[in-house]
Amino acid sequence: MELCGVELGGPVLNASGTFDAIAARRAFGDALLERFPFDAFVSKTVTLGPRQGNPPPRLWETPAGMINSIGLPNKGMEGFLVNDLPELARLGVPLVVSVMGFDHDELAALVEGVGAREEVAMLELNVSCPNVESGVLVGADPAETAAAVGAVRGRTTKPLVVKLSPSSVDPAAVAVAAQEAGADALSLINTLKGMALHPQTRRPWLGGETGGASGPAVRAVALEQVTAVAERTTIPIVGMGGIASGRDAADFLAAGADVVAVGTESFRDPGAGRRIAAELAALGATGRVRTPEAVR
């Protein structure tokens, strides 16, 4: 099968920020490569400059899920391209690099810099960030999203996946705007905004005060948004949000996703991606891949 012209061995990816293949290699050695759990590897979101991320605690366990306030720690584009990308290129699966810029110039520099590297098969734009000028959450607003996609579309010939924010009144409208601005595929959902209080002090528990909710608890919300987006767009969809079994994955494919991504479930079991792919195959479901309207 293929996604935006990129050959895939199967329909199960990891969700950005939920699997660090380099760290996992340290823990699991070569066995990780022999039994790599995903059909493509999506990097944690890379920003232009390096980021430390939020202060701990960064995790809170919820009923059937969790909230994180990790805060996008990463080495910045240079550090990523120099140190990490050569390592990731040896995984043996196509690489998708997730990028986030805090303005269009940053985003353009990222797309151009990352897109120029031959190891990179696709780029994912994480638009779940505020516009630094307007304060509007880019991914929640059709016009802002279209502007961001438009600003970078010309900077690479590689497929661009736009990762939608779930905190929008109408995610399908944002999706349509992204498609019209030149996105090759869409991925959703990102985490829902959530919060937890310290059991004793009742002050915010997370170092980032608020965080993002993920896991089985958000699955029904994700499935609804994937359905709504699939009804109004024609480009491929990477569906995610609480997928923990082949049956869940089959639901997302039936709702209109072409491939799925596994996030939180990998925390409970690093082999979850392979297990889910096997369960999906046993159900007779395979990923559908729609051809993007225009392949650039």
């Binding site: 699997f19 605690p57 960064r58 995790l59 366990e61 899920g65 990998s266 409970r268 079991d269 082999g271």
Partner: protein, 274 residues
């Protein structure tokens, strides 16, 4: 991928969760000691490494809601199993829903297990004697380290009370015990005999695990005296293998992940243990 630098203190783990079987469970004073048969894992996890554990049944749900994620535990002992894999001992303190459920598990129950994970203790600095300093349930990783080092080490263990000090029996006769309430061993904090030891002879490498306040006291004591110490830290974890970036601790080089960059850190890497 390039072969990573050989890491002698890190035994590799199979890259997926597996089902281990609880072989025995007993109460040890204030703690639970459970033994599990890991069917396919390595027979030689390093002291200071850890496993992510979850009960196969009854893990969350109902009115208790949590746990959802697995929990981290250092093995207190590991024995190769003739049929392959290993037999692992874990010492548990009931502090919340996860440890509570694990502590009530009985023989035959399914234990979901991933590991060994993280980097364990490194060898002592050449020419120094190993000094093991444990507090509370933090004595667990020191037990297998103690057994590995043979009779060459000194063991200092601190507990809240005599019920907790029951865990000292695992170390045999050699361990010196202090309790906060004096109900077992001498009364006081474990850092007092540690300071005396180091003042007597500073040619030591300190290996320590226990509550943050104790680790910070150990770190400061050692730093003042120029003694190398290795501290096994704890942190709330979601994954245990570097995937979530949730378990970070502040080091002199910025935030590092306890699960892959630790859990054992050199005292010199930390400005403070919090």
């Amino acid at each position: 991928m390039s072969v990573p630098m050989a890491e002698p203190h890190r035994t590799l783990a199979p890259p997926e969760r597996r089902v281990a079987e609880v072989r025995g469970a007993r109460r040890l004073g204030a703690y639970d000691l459970i033994t599990a048969r890991d069917p396919v894992g390595p027979p030689d996890p390093r002291p200071g490494q850890f496993y992510m554990l979850a009960a196969g049944d009854g893990w969350g749900g109902g009115t208790g809601e949590r746990p959802f994620l697995p929990r981290a535990f250092s093995h207190a002992a590991a024995r190769p199993h003739p049929g392959g894999g290993a037999e692992l001992d874990f010492l548990l303190e009931d502090v919340g829903p996860g440890t509570h459920r694990l502590g009530e598990m009985g023989a035959g129950e399914a234990l979901m297990l991933l590991g060994p994970l993280g980097a364990g203790f490194r060898p002592p600095v050449q020419g120094t004697r190993p000094l093991l300093v444990g507090g509370g349930v933090g004595v667990a990783p020191l037990l297998c380290l103690h057994r590995e080092l043979g009779a060459d080490d000194q063991v200092l263990l601190g507990f809240r009370s005599g019920a907790h000090a029951a865990a000292a029996e695992l170390f045999g006769d050699g361990a010196r015990v202090v309790t906060e309430d004096g109900s077992a061993g001498s009364m006081g904090l474990v850092t007092e005999p540690l300071a005396a030891e180091l003042d007597g002879d500073p040619a030591a490498t300190v290996f320590s695990c226990g509550p943050p306040a104790m680790l910070e006291a150990v770190r400061a004591l050692c730093a003042q005296r120029g003694v190398e110490c290795q501290l096994a830290l704890e942190s709330g974890m979601a994954c245990g293998f570097g995937a979530c970036f949730g378990c970070v601790v502040e080091t002199v080089a910025g935030y590092e992940r306890v699960c892959v960059d630790g859990p054992v850190f050199a005292g010199s890497q930390l400005a403070r243990v919090v």
